[in-house]
């Protein structure tokens, strides 16, 4: 394949297919006013970062996503990660939990504890965080359709442990819109789903004041195949919809906006990614201040978590994934992320082994402590190329907002398949560009080698499911059915009356009502959503 470098036939485009010029100069910036468009780090419009001193003041949080098996298994991994120097926890739930099903439901067979940890009741939540001080460690929970149920379990567990709610720090993903666009873990129809998102925001704004109530996520949109610009645009459009629904609920923007957070993908094209993060910050600041009239500076700041691109990892020559992840992590940090998950090299084969998970954390530690990237804020600021791309990303996102409005708004656009169609189109274009060799992927369509050595992968403990089901049955035997039944009636009543359902769920948590029981009670009045099979 030596001809690859000497006789290039690949077009000069980004990963997203955007043409790139051979050189950028001041001419490419048009009417560029650095004072207004960039500002200084820590100042509007935050293009250069949300803190004045960026990583000198505070390093990003190294937050590796983890979860498998029963709560006790994940608890053990959490303690291991904290001992390795990880600074925050991030919880992956298993697929039944993500879909609002209990471990003993027939649809859960084969899935319990496989992709994440199984949580059925508050007992599981207590076991998951056993020995971890919830007032000290910040905890992220990736869950969406049942987010409000899981959050009720979490704060009920904190109360039982004697931790004050205003000391709890962390994030719940609670972003249902991108489930409809990309990730496919939804239960209720779009409108009532958003209502639950707002219920959680409303409750936490009043009572769990340090909690990040939504992690508005582009990650999954990108993983499903979107371009970088679509990831940016769809994510901010989702954010706008949540803001508008909270305002419609009568909330004051400056009470809830500071606790909205974001989650972006970090893909292979370093400069395109950096431009995306910078554009996201400045566009969000403009929207919040100028369109939604937020007055508090905290409401203008877009804080984000980044994760390296799982979809960029390859099954062939899996160790090469280490290098992909390292460059992607660099992009996230050059783009000013607040926290970062680096993927493990073996994720195209299985869930990460402890060895692979440790190497991915070490990748961040090398970046933070050996490379010097933390010395100065926004090191790429002022680059003609990066500034031009930042401007272009913002324009593209604004065009897309216009498109969504033309579809009749967020919910109508979901229902007519706008987002799914756009994303699937981009995914197909990308795949074809690899198939015809317009884009080269090391090991896949260039630099192949035979005789990959087999990488040992983490085995799955097949006894997990029966043990989890047994402990759930035990809880069901021990609790009072009268209490459960009263709790479920209260959930149904609140949901049907259009009231905030959080308090009813909190009480249900204490009475050891299960996730699925709560979700089924909600579905009685909210209904269920079936996806279309369009492709």
């Amino acid at each position: 394949m030596s001809s690859v470098t000497t006789n290039r036939r690949t077009p000069w485009t980004t990963v997203s297919g955007v043409p790139v010029q051979p050189l950028y100069t001041v001419e490419d910036l048009g009417n560029f006013f650095p004072d207004q468009e960039l500002g200084l780090p820590g100042h509007f419009p935050f293009t250069r970062g949300i803190h004045e001193s960026m990583y000198r003041g505070r390093l990003w949080t190294m937050r590796q996503f983890a979860g498998f098996g029963r709560p006790v298994d994940t608890n053990e991994r959490f303690h291991f990660l904290l001992r390795q120097g990880q600074t925050g926890l991030s919880t992956a739930f298993d697929l039944p939990t993500l879909m609002g099903l209990d471990s003993d439901d027939p649809r859960s067979v084969g899935e319990v504890g496989r992709l994440g940890v199984a949580v059925d009741t508050i007992d599981d939540m207590l076991a998951l965080f056993d020995g971890i001080d919830l007032g000290q460690v910040s905890v992220s929970m990736t869950i969406n359709a049942p987010a409000i149920v899981i959050m009720a379990f979490y704060v009920a567990a904190a109360r039982q442990r004697g931790v004050a709610w205003n000391e709890l720090r962390g994030t719940i993903q609670n972003d249902i819109l991108k489930e409809f666009h990309a990730q496919n873990e939804f239960v209720f129809p779009p409108e009532p789903s958003v209502r639950l998102v707002v219920d959680l925001i409303e409750f936490c704004t009043q009572q769990v004041t340090q909690w990040n109530t939504v992690s508005i996520s582009g990650y999954h949109i990108r993983e499903a195949g979107s371009t970088a610009a679509q990831e940016l645009a769809f994510t901010l459009a989702d954010g706008r919809h949540y803001v508008e629904q909270c305002l419609a609920r009568g909330m004051d923007i400056d009470t809830f906006a500071p606790r909205l957070s974001f989650f972006f993908n970090s893909h292979n094209d370093l400069f395109e990614e950096v431009a995306k993060y910078r554009a996201a910050r400045s566009l969000w600041a403009e929207l919040m201040r100028d369109e939604y009239k937020a007055k508090a500076e905290a409401s203008w700041k877009l804080r984000f978590h980044a994760q390296t691109a799982g979809c960029s990892l390859q099954a062939v020559q899996p160790e090469v994934n280490l290098m992909r992840v390292a460059y992607q992590a660099l992009a996230a940090v050059l783009g000013g992320c607040q926290s970062l998950h680096t993927n493990s090299m073996d994720e195209t084969l299985a869930l990460p082994s402890e060895h692979a998970a440790t190497l991915s954390l070490r990748t961040q530690q090398v970046l933070a402590h050996e490379t010097g990237v933390t010395n100065t804020s926004d090191p790429l600021g002022g680059s003609y190329f990066v500034e031009h791309f930042t401007q272009q990303m913002k324009q593209e996102a604004r065009r897309c907002f216009h498109d969504i409005a033309g579809q009749g708004g967020m919910i109508a656009a979901i229902e007519n398949g706008y987002f799914r169609r756009k994303i699937a189109d981009s995914a197909y274009v990308y795949q074809r560009s690899i198939d015809v060799g317009e884009k080269l992927i090391v090991g896949v369509n260039a630099f192949q080698q035979s005789g990959d050595k087999i990488m040992p992968v983490m085995p799955f403990d097949e006894s997990t499911e029966s043990a989890q089901v047994e402990s759930l049955r035990q809880v069901k035997r021990d609790r009072s059915w009268d209490d459960v039944s009263r709790s479920l009636d209260e959930i149904r009543r609140a949901a049907a009356a259009g009231q905030n359902v959080f308090s009813a769920l909190l009480e249900a948590a204490d009475r050891r009502v299960t996730v699925q029981e709560c979700m089924d009670a909600l579905a009685d009045s909210l209904g269920r959503f079936r996806p279309s099979a369009g492709w």
Binding site: G110, R114, A224, Q314, E347, T348, Y428, Q431, W535
Partner: protein, 130 residues
């Protein structure tokens, strides 16, 4: 792509709770563009529903996509369901996150091929056409 007198029929299916549908939708479009008659099940299908659809649609191939690690419980059940219906002439291909060990096991059980991340559409077309 090869010219075909009659296009081959393939049912692409998602079984279980797994929602990762980027790969299967890309493969659906790719096979369509290569001249296959493609039927896509949509998400969250049961093993029985997929086997029944394979029979009803009289397909030559069944492609099942599983990225959540449940392939060792779902694929054997699917092969069994096909066998019970006398549909052993239908070739089964499996896509997803599948370790090399598991790929071997699934092939021994009767799967025709397994495809992981990085597979080109052309290589799938070539296999199905050969």
């Amino acid at each position: 792509m090869n010219e075909r007198k009659m296009s081959q029929r393939i049912l692409l299916a998602k079984v279980g709770l797994d929602g990762h549908d980027r790969g299967i939708k890309v493969v659906a479009r790719g096979l369509r563009d290569a001249g296959f008659h493609v039927i896509y099940s949509g998400l969250w299908q049961s093993v029985d529903a997929v086997a029944q659809a394979a029979q009803d649609e009289d397909v030559d191939w069944l492609g099942v996509s599983i990225l959540n690690g449940a392939h060792m419980s779902l694929v054997p059940k699917l092969l069994e369901a096909l066998q019970q219906r006398g549909l052993t002439h239908i070739g089964v291909i499996v896509g997803g996150i599948i370790s090399p060990d598991d790929q071997e096991k699934l092939k021994q059980l009767g799967a025709s091929a397994c495809y992981g991340p990085g597979t080109s559409i052309d290589s799938i077309v070539e296999f199905l056409s050969s």
